[in-house]
Each structure stands twice: as structure tokens, then as C-alpha cells.
């Protein structure tokens, strides 16, 4: 067991923390509204090689693990970076996994061609509310049992970045994508499984992003209540305010550990190591189960943390001027864009082996 980042991961964390501090942050996120894409920051990001970081070396990428990517995602989330980094990383890994070198081409590896993932199956030939649909040049989607690649001439189709953007709660680059004419990459159970695996990676990295959002939400709340005075003292000295905040570190750290464990399980699954799913004894190393749990836990941590943080800002929290509202809206958007967490929970419950299938005990 080792709950520290590896030395390499610590370096990755520092490098990306510095990058996102310099190139992103609340001001840039605000400026990128309503579409939720910062072209200049994306161009700078290409210089770091981040877009191909998670693609296997054999396919021309950086060979980073899901655990490495989760470290980057958390740093991006902490600064609400308006960049489709998670979607691109996951979709590029999926394309590379298909083994067809033309699918994950140089443009995708460089990041000049942005690729997104339709996390929900298409309905009537349309991938609806695709998380990076308004900025992705290409989108991988599941249409029935066909895995397809939508590649119109320009991002967002048909008029370039931002086209088709659906104004939304979190100012994410959401868009519907019509899959008519999309290229078929694979069909049958393998196609469905490949998409499911990619969505589990998306769950894991989105969970990490949400953990970053949650963490900064707590920091904003704590900083504000130390500074704001009422009745002649900082509002942070009132126990009612303190207790709203005191629940949060455990909630956020717990979600962080769970997201990290999901990423670890994902990397083990890639290496062919089977996981265990025995909730009767709390032994869970199964990747799909942990990915679902991580997204639910991190969504909860981010929505609760940003809610409480906003609340302890009083009226200023509700004003556009203060940053906490940016975090509040993105927390909900990322937590709910895949599905209702309750349905996600029911899906998880249906994955569980029947009771008693694990080890026996009273």
C-alpha cells in the first residue's frame, strides 16, 4: 500500500498546477463563458504534450496511466480550466485502443484536432448533449451497437468552434451531434465494451475534476469567512458557520481517495488484473464499480462543498462578481451531465453479485 503520489506524479502535479495557475483560473473561466472554451489556453496546452499524454507510447502518445491523468484532471478542476482535456484524453485513448492508426492521427495526438466523447448512447442517430460537443472536431459515439466517429469539416459542425453550443448551467461546451454520415469504427459487443470502458475512464477523470472543484470551493469559503466581519468579528468564528465547513474536508478527501482508487483499478484492469466486487465485505477493486462510485461521491462532494461555500458568502456568493458561483454551477454540470446520480447508483447496484456470493460470515 502507498497513499502518496509517485515521484513522477508529484512532478506532473507541480508542472500542471503551475500551468493551470498561469493559463487558467476563475478570470479566464469567466471570460470563456458561455461556451466554456479558452482557445489561447488550449494552444498553450498543446505545447506541453498533454493532449496525447494518456495515449500508449506504441500509438505515438506519452504512455501516461489513468492515475497520472487523474492528477492532471484534479489540478484542472481546481482552477475550473475551460479546456476539454478529460474528454480529449479519454476519446484519444479509445481511438488508439482500436488499433487503427488512422483513427488516432497526428492531429489528435498534437491536440490540434480535438476529439470528444458522447458519454450517453445516441438516440435516433443523434448524440445529445455531448460534453465537449461544441468544440470537438470529432466525436466518438455509440449508436446502437456501432461505435462511430463523427468528423465534420470543422469543430462543433458546421460553422467552427462554438457552433451548435447549447447555453447551459455550467457554461460547458455542450452540443448535440448528428451522427448521419459518421464513420463506423467497430460494431457488436466489442464496440459496446470499448465505449463502456471509455465512459468509465471519463467517470474516473471527471470525478477527479470534481474533486478539484470541491477543494477550491472549500478554500474559497474558508478564506471568505476569515475575512468577512459581522457583529464585530469574523463570521468564521461562529460555530454554526464552522460546522457547515468542517464536514467538507472528510467529504472531499474521501472522494479524492475513491477517485484515485478507481484510476488505480482502471490501470490494473488495463494490465489484465481482475478486480473484486464484494460489497458484503467491503472488498471492491472492480474498475466499473469504482468508477461509478467515484463519480457519485465526487459529484456529491463538489455539489455540497460549493453549496455550503456559496452559502457562507452570504449575498455576495450569489453575485456574479464572486468566484464561488462559477464553481457552484460547474460542480452541478459535471456531476449531472452523464446521468442522474440516483440512476447511476441503480446501475451500480445491478452490477453487484447476489448476496452470499462472496465469502461467508455472520
Amino acid at each position: 500500500m502507498d497513499l502518496n503520489l509517485t515521484e513522477d506524479q508529484e512532478t506532473i502535479r507541480e508542472v500542471f498546477a503551475a500551468f493551470f495557475d498561469g493559463e487558467t483560473g476563475p478570470e479566464r473561466a469567466r471570460a470563456a463563458e458561455p461556451i466554456g472554451f479558452d482557445t489561447a489556453a488550449w494552444d498553450r496546452l498543446l505545447e506541453t504534450g498533454a493532449p496525447a499524454m494518456g495515449v500508449p507510447e506504441a500509438a505515438g502518445g506519452g504512455g501516461a496511466s489513468l492515475a497520472d491523468l487523474a492528477v492532471v484532471a484534479a489540478e484542472a478542476g481546481a482552477r475550473i480550466a475551460p479546456l476539454p482535456l478529460v474528454d480529449h484524453a479519454v476519446a484519444a485513448r479509445l481511438l488508439a485502443d482500436l488499433g487503427d492508426p488512422s483513427a488516432c492521427d497526428d492531429g489528435i495526438l498534437a491536440g490540434t484536432t480535438i476529439v470528444g466523447l458522447a458519454v450517453r448512447p445516441a438516440v435516433d442517430g443523434v448524440a445529445r448533449v455531448v460534453p465537449s460537443g461544441a468544440v470537438a472536431h470529432r466525436v466518438v459515439a455509440l449508436d446502437g451497437d456501432r461505435l462511430v466517429l463523427d468528423r465534420p469539416e470543422s469543430a462543433g459542425a458546421p460553422d467552427g468552434p462554438g457552433a451548435g453550443h447549447l447555453p447551459n448551467h455550467g457554461c460547458l461546451p455542450l452540443a448535440h451531434r448528428d451522427l448521419a454520415g459518421a464513420e463506423v469504427l467497430a460494431t457488436g459487443p466489442d464496440a459496446v465494451a470499448a465505449h463502456a470502458r471509455a465512459v468509465d475512464e471519463w467517470r474516473t477523470l471527471t470525478a477527479a475534476t470534481l474533486v478539484g472543484i470541491a477543494r477550491t470551493s472549500v478554500d474559497l469559503g474558508v478564506a471568505y469567512v476569515m475575512e468577512r466581519e459581522q457583529f464585530g468579528r469574523p463570521v468564521g468564528s461562529f460555530q454554526a458557520v464552522q460546522h457547515l465547513l468542517a464536514d467538507l474536508p472528510g467529504l472531499v478527501d474521501g472522494a479524492h481517495l475513491l477517485a484515485a482508487k478507481a484510476a488505480w483499478a482502471g490501470d490494473r484492469a488495463s494490465a489484465g488484473i481482475d478486480g473484486v466486487l464484494d460489497v458484503d465485505h467491503n472488498d471492491v477493486t472492480d474498475f466499473p464499480a469504482l468508477a461509478a462510485m467515484a463519480l457519485v461521491a465526487a459529484g456529491e462532494a463538489a455539489t455540497i462543498a460549493s453549496d455550503r461555500s456559496l452559502h457562507v458568502h452570504g449575498g455576495y456568493g450569489f453575485s456574479e462578481e464572486y468566484d464561488v458561483q462559477l464553481y457552484y454551477r460547474r460542480a452541478r454540470a459535471l456531476a449531472y451531465v452523464l446521468d442522474d446520480p440516483a440512476r447511476e447508483c441503480r446501475r451500480l447496484a445491478r452490477m453487484l453479485p447476489a448476496p452470499g456470493a462472496g465469502r461467508g460470515a455472520a
Partner: protein, 386 residues
Amino acid sequence: MDFSLGERAEAFRDEVRAFLDEHLTTDVVERMHATGTFNDKDFNGAMAEAGLLAGAVPGYGDRDPIELYVLFNELEKAGAPYDGLAVTMLVAGVVNAVGTDVLREAVLPRLLSGRSNCCLGYSEPDHGSDVAAITTRAVRDGDEWVVDGQKMWTTMAHEAEWVILLTRTDPDVPKHKGLTMFLVPMDTPGIEVQPVPTMASERTNATFYDGVRVHDRWRLGEVDGGWAVMGVALAFERGVMGGTNPAVPLLRHVRSWAAEAPSPDGGTMADDPLLLERTARTAMANQVSQLLTLRAAWIAATGGLPGLEGSMAKLYATERYQQAVGWFQQMAGAEGLLSFGVDGAAADGWIDYDGRHSPVTTIYGGTTEINRNNVAERHLGLPRAR
């Protein structure tokens, strides 16, 4: 990060599981609930003989400290009697950390045999959360101290050979500075134990100290240094030694009940959409509780004192446990109200049991509010509120 326990801890876990498969009989579980004493000296003794207690004392021995977490986590998950053992091993850890060599030699081998127990004498009738304000007096008389006062909630006192007793030795200084800790043999004349029954099956006690003469060699730590000893004891207690995975047996019992119980809407309760959702939420919370506890263990294993991390684990785990109990109690309806041994009781009475037991988990071992105060002040850096 690596979330596997590692070969050594995994091998140890398998040993614990094999032990439980053999020794955690229905008899042991029924006896514990019938007597309300979550301590079984034969069971503990068998554990010692199987070599499982060598790593059970925090900070003592050469075992991997993760094993400490593994041991208590497995006992808790299996629903074994471990409360008495956890307190005993905790006191052993304190004796090892601050006791004299003489005390260590006199006490540790007996505690490690599993057949001798300790209890915690901190709380008093008028002083619980504000434990530094206790008034039980210890007055020096030559080589001895004379103790007078009363303790409350002295769980396991009726089974214990020793009580770790927090006393006031100087009433004229600020409250934290006039405390001294002793390890007092329970058979010392002047000690009286009276049972305090609770709404759950577990029993606790009030203990009375009337002119109790304690030799100075039983002192733990410095005279008037009792608060520092409390700090060590609390850091050992929080998180690592059980108490943060109570919803694991709950979920196991609920799942086996739901698989059989007919639903008024047709099918079984296992098909009920709300039950499915709550099952998953509980399984998720159990993972988070486990990870927060593991983190505390990890910090201890790498040389730190995980006080605040333990507080976070306890806050999260106990509130989620109570929430889950509330959910499943409602969903089990009338049958969920029926107790152990009653015909038709949902989950053989476990839902009634957890409904009775769960309220105490946010009270003992430091209440939720006290833990929130700790996190607010010492982790978030907010000003002292009181």
C-alpha cells in the same frame, strides 16, 4: 498510489479471516448481544494464541502497522465482539508509549494474552465533552495517591482488570494543567461498579471511587501531565481501531433480507428501485469510510499521529451509517421493527439492532460536534468558537 494492502498485510488478513471462520460462531455473537458485553475473553484469548494480537497494540512490536487496521476492520466487518479488545489494545499502546519499564513489564504480557481487559475512565456524570474539567480527585499520600470521585460510561468496567483513570491532581491551575493519569487495578478496595443499561443491547457502567489507594508506580506520564497522555490515547483511538465501518454488516444483512423479502409492489425488495439506489449509496459510503480509515492507518504507519484524519473518518462514517440505518429501517417497514429471535423479523432482527445502536456512534469517542470543532480549528484554521 497503490491501494492493495501488500503481501504481508494481505497474508495477515487471510489469517484473521480464517480465524473468524473458525471461531466467530453463532454462539459467540448471540452471547455478546444477550449479555450486552462486546468482549469475549475466550475469543480474545484464542486470537492471542493464534498470534493475531502481536501487531494489535499501536506503536508496539515489529508488525506492519497496517495490520492493526486490518485486524480491527475485519473484526468490525464480521460483526465480532471487539469493543473490549480495542480498548484493551489502546491502553496497551498508551502504557507502552508513556509507562515506566516496570509498568510495561507488569501489564503488557497480560493484555497481549487477550484474557485481561482494560476500561476507559475519562467521562464523569457532569463532564463529558469538556473532559478536561473532570473533578475526580487524586491526592498524594507518601508513595500512594488517594482517589475519590465518580466516573460515568465506564464501559467494560465489570470485565476489566484495569481502568485508565483521568484524575484531578491540582484544582488551582487551568483545567488542562492539573490532570494526572493512572492505570488502576480494578480489584483495589473502594471501587464500585454499577451497571448502566442502554437502549441498545450494549451495557455500560457507572464507577465509584471511595478512598481508593493507588501506588505511584501505577501513574502514567507526569504528575499534572495527564492531558498529554489523553492526547496519545485519543490519537490512537480515532479511526484506526474500528468504529468506522459499521455499515458493512448492516449492508450485508439488508442485502440478504432484500433478496428474499417479498415487495408489496411485486417481486422481492431487491427489485425495488429505491432499495437499489440506497444499496449502492451505502456500498459507496463504505468504500469512502474504509479509505479515510486507511489513510489514518497509513499516516500512523509512516510515523505520524493521525488525530484529525481520524476525526474526519469518524465524522463521515458515523453519519453515513446513521443515514443508511434510517433508510433501511423505513424500507423494512413493520418487519424491520422486530427484534432478534422474533419470527418474521426482517434481517433476523439486525435492522432493529442497528436502529438502536446507531445513535451512540456520533456521541461516544468524541461527539460529532467536538470532531467538527477539531477540524474547523486545527484543519481549516478557523478561530476558536467557544
